[in-house]
């Protein structure tokens, strides 16, 4: 059943895809840095009234936890990627490569880019898992 992006249901389905599909198990096995927070900037025009923060606790190809988190929690984590809803939508559709988007300023990274670069396969396979989610976008 299709789930709406971005919602807690979508995040749960995303985790399920990470857990079930082989992509991230292989691509993310080098990641030992723990939590990444993805922030979708508030966009009230489409129904996102506040920043939507996705907490992903990742370790060596496994997703230990995925949930929506509060703004207060965001500051505690060393890897935070922030962007406009329209950019994230393109990422989920696999039409925007996230590391290239960071370099171009389309997504904003707080954290050490070389660490992300070393784990480029992890980033790519996470996006792949997102594309497996049967998604309905909130603005459609």
């Amino acid at each position: 059943m299709a789930v709406v992006f971005p919602t807690a249901e979508w995040v749960a389905e995303f985790k399920k895809q990470i857990d079930e599909k082989p992509d991230y198990k292989e691509g993310g096995k080098g990641w030992r840095e723990g939590v990444i927070v993805l922030i979708i900037n508030a966009k009230p025009q489409v129904g996102i009234d506040a920043d939507f923060n996705i907490y992903l606790d990742l370790h060596e190809g496994q997703c230990r936890e995925a949930r929506v988190c509060s703004d207060e929690e965001v500051g505690d984590h060393p890897f935070v990627i922030r962007g406009e809803y329209d950019r994230w939508k393109l990422v989920v559709l696999d039409q925007l490569e996230p590391v290239k988007a960071m370099m171009q300023g389309k997504l904003k990274l707080t954290g050490d880019l070389p660490t992300i670069v070393r784990n480029i396969d992890g980033a790519k396979t996470l996006v792949k898992c997102a594309t497996y989610v049967e998604t309905v976008f909130i603005d459609e």
């Binding site: 389309k106 070389p114 070393r118």
Partner: protein, 387 residues
């Protein structure tokens, strides 16, 4: 002949105002007023201050609006230097930073502007496009023709302990104004003239072959290659030649605008690592590695070099042969300007190869290379070829 792909997306960002002309540094106070600033701190290095009159000329042009000179910039400044510069400028109530020097002075100034605006230490701001507003205004006055930093959104800062260069990449750190005055470059020694020009040549060539290559960057880069190729020897042989100096200076800026928007590739990934591990000057590292990277890349993507080959006037039986001839031509060009062409000539030893390769593989530039780099072993092979 073009190598970019019209169906790929790109972003081209070039917000820096460029002011070119012999004697143009005398307009700096007016440029500062245009930015609504009236208290400038000059950021430079002690060697330039003690051995040339360049910072003094800028200080004179600024007059009473210059409230101090911070001259502790080092080649690839350390975090501590950035923080000290920010504290120095803040204490003097500066509202504008004027970098005078090469890439290290300009990059240090970009980093100082971040700390001045946001507080804390530069260590807390090592991010990618995370700044949320304008930073302390920065006027860049390059005294070398190579880095292109006067029109880029990146600042490289060295962590001495980790022997690694970190960078801040952010559209908020473009200098507001770049003053290109070729009279400020006539005193540049021959070796630095050549190595910085080859740095610019590398920027241009990697911008053309990067996977992020695009039509606008390519137009800047192709023009820059032709200008550098035509002027480098003259500037080395006749340092007072303003035409040659001005050609290199404007070409370096154009190459900077090109790579800022198209990114660079494996040459820069390795050069950054050579700088971090072995302290090889950036321009020399680029100059040595460039021909070897062309050989490496051309095996799978010789067509990417078509604009380079055409600009250098090379004709060959195939794209691969043409790229290989371009590599040979660039080696000859560097050697004819008195530059080293092997890593063994610049203090690198083979025992450092693995560390260099590992650092190069973690450098963002490697992702943009036209031939995907499979792993550190391919970097080691490149280093071996360049040794």
């Amino acid at each position: 002949m073009s190598s970019w792909e019209p169906d790929s997306d790109f972003v081209f960002h070039m917000p820096t105002k460029v002011l070119y002309g012999p004697g143009s540094h005398r307009e700096i106070r007016a440029e500062m007023a245009d930015l609504a600033c009236d208290r400038a701190v000059i950021v430079t290095d002690r060697g330039l201050r003690e051995n040339t009159d360049l910072p003094a000329r800028i200080q004179k042009a600024l007059g009473a609006t210059c409230v101090g000179v911070f001259d502790d910039v080092e080649p690839d400044s350390r975090f501590e230097i950035v923080d000290a510069g920010a504290a120095f400028a803040a204490k003097l109530g500066a509202d504008c930073l004027v970098s005078v020097g090469g890439g290290s002075s300009m990059d240090t100034t970009k980093a100082i502007s971040i700390v001045m605006t946001n507080g804390g230490s530069i260590r807390e701001h090592l991010a990618v496009h995370a700044l949320t507003g304008p930073q302390t205004p920065h006027i860049a006055v390059p005294t070398t023709a190579g880095t292109g930093s006067e029109v880029t959104n990146v600042a490289l800062i060295k962590d001495e302990a980790a022997r690694t260069k970190f960078f801040v990449l952010d559209n908020q750190i473009f200098p507001r104004t770049a003053i290109l005055d070729p009279t400020l470059t006539t005193g540049l020694p021959a070796g630095l003239t050549a190595s910085t020009a080859m740095d610019a040549m590398t920027h241009a060539i990697e911008a053309i072959t990067s996977i992020c290559r695009n039509s606008m960057s390519e137009s800047f880069a192709v023009q820059a290659i032709g200008m550098i190729n035509g002027a480098i020897r003259r500037a080395v042989e006749a340092p007072e030649d303003i035409l040659a100096r001005g050609t290199l200076l404007s070409a370096a800026t154009m190459a900077g605008a090109a790579f800022c928007n198209a990114m660079v590739g494996v040459v820069h990934a390795v050069a950054h690592a050579l700088g971090g591990v072995c302290s090889v000057p950036h321009g020399i590292a680029n100059s040595i590695m460039l021909p070897h990277a062309i050989h490496f890349n051309a095996v799978t993507d010789a067509e990417a070099y078509a604009p380079v080959v055409a600009t250098l006037g090379i004709k060959a039986s195939s794209p691969l042969a043409a790229a290989q001839m371009a590599a040979a031509r660039l080696t000859e060009l560097a050697a004819s300007c008195g530059l080293q062409t092997k890593l063994s000539q610049v203090g690198v030893n083979r025992r450092q190869f693995q560390e260099i390769a590992d650092k190069a593989m973690a450098d963002g530039a490697v992702l943009n290379n036209c031939r995907p780099v499979a792993g550190p072993e391919e970097i080691v092979a490149l280093l071996d070829a360049a040794f």
